[in-house]
Amino acid sequence: MERTPAAADPNLTPAAGDERSAGRTRVLSADFLFHHVALAMAILVGAALIAVVIAIAVDSWPAIKAFGVIGFLTGRTWDPVSEQFGAFPFIVGTLVSSAIAMVLAVPLSFGIAVFISELAPSWMRQPVSSAIEMLASVPSIVYGLWGLLVFAPAFANVEPWINDHLGAIPGIGVLFQGPPMGIGMLAAGIVLAIMILPYITAIMRDVFVATPTRLKESAYAMGATTWEVARKILLPYTRTAVTGGIFLGLGRALGETMAVTFVIGNSDNLSASLLMPGASIPSVIANEFTEATTKLYVSSLIYLGLVLIGITLIVQALAVLLLGTVGRGARAPS
């Protein structure tokens, strides 16, 4: 699995212009066709995305009319009986569970990626990589069942300890107080972290391995420790790709439905504690769509979907902005 550093070095990418000039007309017509097919594909994808957003907006129109934008985003009641719908608890649930997942998964992924690319003996690299990648191929419903039947009961035994120790810290202690149920916001965040770990790890490992050996060796030659190499050579060199990988994981965490539904606890009540149950946007839609009978109820659920698309777009835009700023810092392989 050793990669040649040259393959990833942008300076060595061949231009390949000379070979083309021979038989130009034949290539041109093929090129012309390919160009248009590719263009059509690109337009089709864009058009499909726009069509989806329009369709969702149309279907959520009754709810938009009834609750407005600000009213819906800040509304804290979700009551199908009196048909009062507000998205605030679910927006918080979506963002908090994803934030927990990122806090846990990013450092862990970084550690695993550095281990595989720098520290592990070569016979270990492949098995460890494969094991991480296999985590990505486990269906999310299986994570949900595992979370509910295996993880939550075990976690319930850890929670009294969390209550006693983390819950006693002044300031942030309130985040860690609550009945030891095993399910809740923190449990959802941990299961999500395990789910997005392979995506972030795989990207980090690939770009770390592709970092030119001469850079790393020069640093080692000057007496740098492995940590210093990781911190000062690997990370700056691969910043763009690493940020991209992190946002890929975040996007997945925001939209994850089944696994979260099983372990988040599904309560519309906001709570300061991470040990208490909450609900995320996808989990509410999955839970309530089948039995939603009135027009306004269905429309409010679709409106939630629109809000989720909005959140994902904002995250994507942030990612592009971040990539723009860090991209200027260093040339890096993508």
Partner: protein, 338 residues
């Protein structure tokens, strides 16, 4: 040329015959997940005996109502009956299928199955978060001599929209004015406290795993999972354990024959043997559907009422009382002429 036309005609005739034979041999329905086990069992036996396939998709009551209104299925099933006015507006009819019940389950160390006794107002207070501890005076008053621990109550409810929730909340609305005013009844409601589990299985699993938990599940799940269930005090003041007899007693005390379009909800019915949280599933048909389609659906349910009773009992569904079945047959005749 003549032979060609003849051959074409023969093909056309064969095709139409094939189609009509196929139409008679399969019925599609959609809706309630609650009634799914019963329809699935009945349709397997029915297909063996008559060759008619019943394809039932358990997409939820809301979906079932939408599908029958759109006319994409021959029957829809809902755990919540439609108001007679709504039926008339959309040209629909409805009739009950079978009776089931639900009960409170709990996970309290030291409390055996059936040891806890509850009544409607107490359940409402617990599920509204007013009663927070297992040794609360309100619980102790109904359970003299039972050792109740000083433990927090964790309420477990359904996270998904469900007829089970509708029946449960409907019962609490009848017995608790505060519940009725503040929360009400629907397939999903705004729970003031607690955690939500997906499906009966989700609630059962949470209750079994969380110490101090209380939840509500269908009777079938209590039997399957050997859960600790509560005995309930019904509207006649009698303490009962959940049983098919109790569900049927609730139905027998309801005069289905008098209610327009069978619009009766079986919770909190009078009668010494009536189980308080009993429920029912309704089948919904379109009046203007093709006669053959409605006839096929009716033949299936008629068969179920006549021959499917022991199968129903084996999976914890109570058969309808004979008086109700004959009322349903009269209703079919009056509305569909079948």
């Amino acid at each position: 040329m003549v032979t060609m036309t003849k051959r074409l005609a023969a093909v056309a005739v064969a095709a139409t015959m094939g189609m009509s034979a196929q139409a008679a041999q399969s019925i599609t329905g959609a809706g309630s997940t609650w009634v799914y086990p019963l329809v699935a069992k009945w349709s397997t036996i029915y297909a063996k005996q008559t060759g008619v396939q019943v394809n039932y998709q358990a997409i939820g009551s809301g979906g079932g109502i939408a599908q029958i209104q759109a006319g994409t299925v021959a029957f829809g099933a809902s755990d919540k009956p439609l108001l007679p006015a709504d039926l008339a507006k959309h040209g629909l009819i409805q009739f009950p299928t079978a009776i089931a019940g639900e009960d409170i389950v709990y996970n309290v160390p030291g409390l055996r199955p059936g040891e806890l006794i509850v009544n409607g107002p107490l359940i409402a207070d617990i599920f509204m978060g007013k009663v927070k501890k297992w040794n609360d005076a309100e619980i102790a008053r109904l359970n003299p001599g039972v050792k109740l621990p000083d433990m927090d109550i964790t309420v477990v409810h359904r996270s998904d929209g469900s007829g089970t929730t509708f029946t449960f909340a409907n019962y609490l609305s009848k017995v608790s004015p505060v519940w009725k005013a503040k929360i009400g009844a629907d397939t999903s409601i705004a729970w003031p406290v607690g955690v939500g589990g997906k499906g009966n299985a989700g609630v059962a699993s949470y209750v079994q795993r969380i110490k101090g938990a209380i939840g509500y599940v269908e009777y079938a799940y209590i039997l399957e999972n050997h859960m600790a269930y509560a005995r309930m005090i019904n509207s006649a003041g009698k303490v009962l354990s959940p049983s098919l007899q109790g569900f049927q007693a609730a139905a027998a005390n309801v005069d289905f024959t008098k209610a327009k379009d069978f619009y009766v909800i079986l919770t909190d019915q009078p009668g010494a043997a009536s189980w308080p949280i009993s429920g029912c599933t309704w089948q919904i048909l379109r009046k203007n559907a093709p006669r053959a389609s409605n006839a096929a659906v009716i033949r299936f349910f008629d068969w179920g009422f006549e021959h499917g009773q022991s199968v129903a009992r084996s999976i914890a569904f109570g058969p309808l009382p004979p008086s109700t079945v004959s009322a349903i047959k009269a209703y079919w005749k009056k509305n569909l002429g079948i």
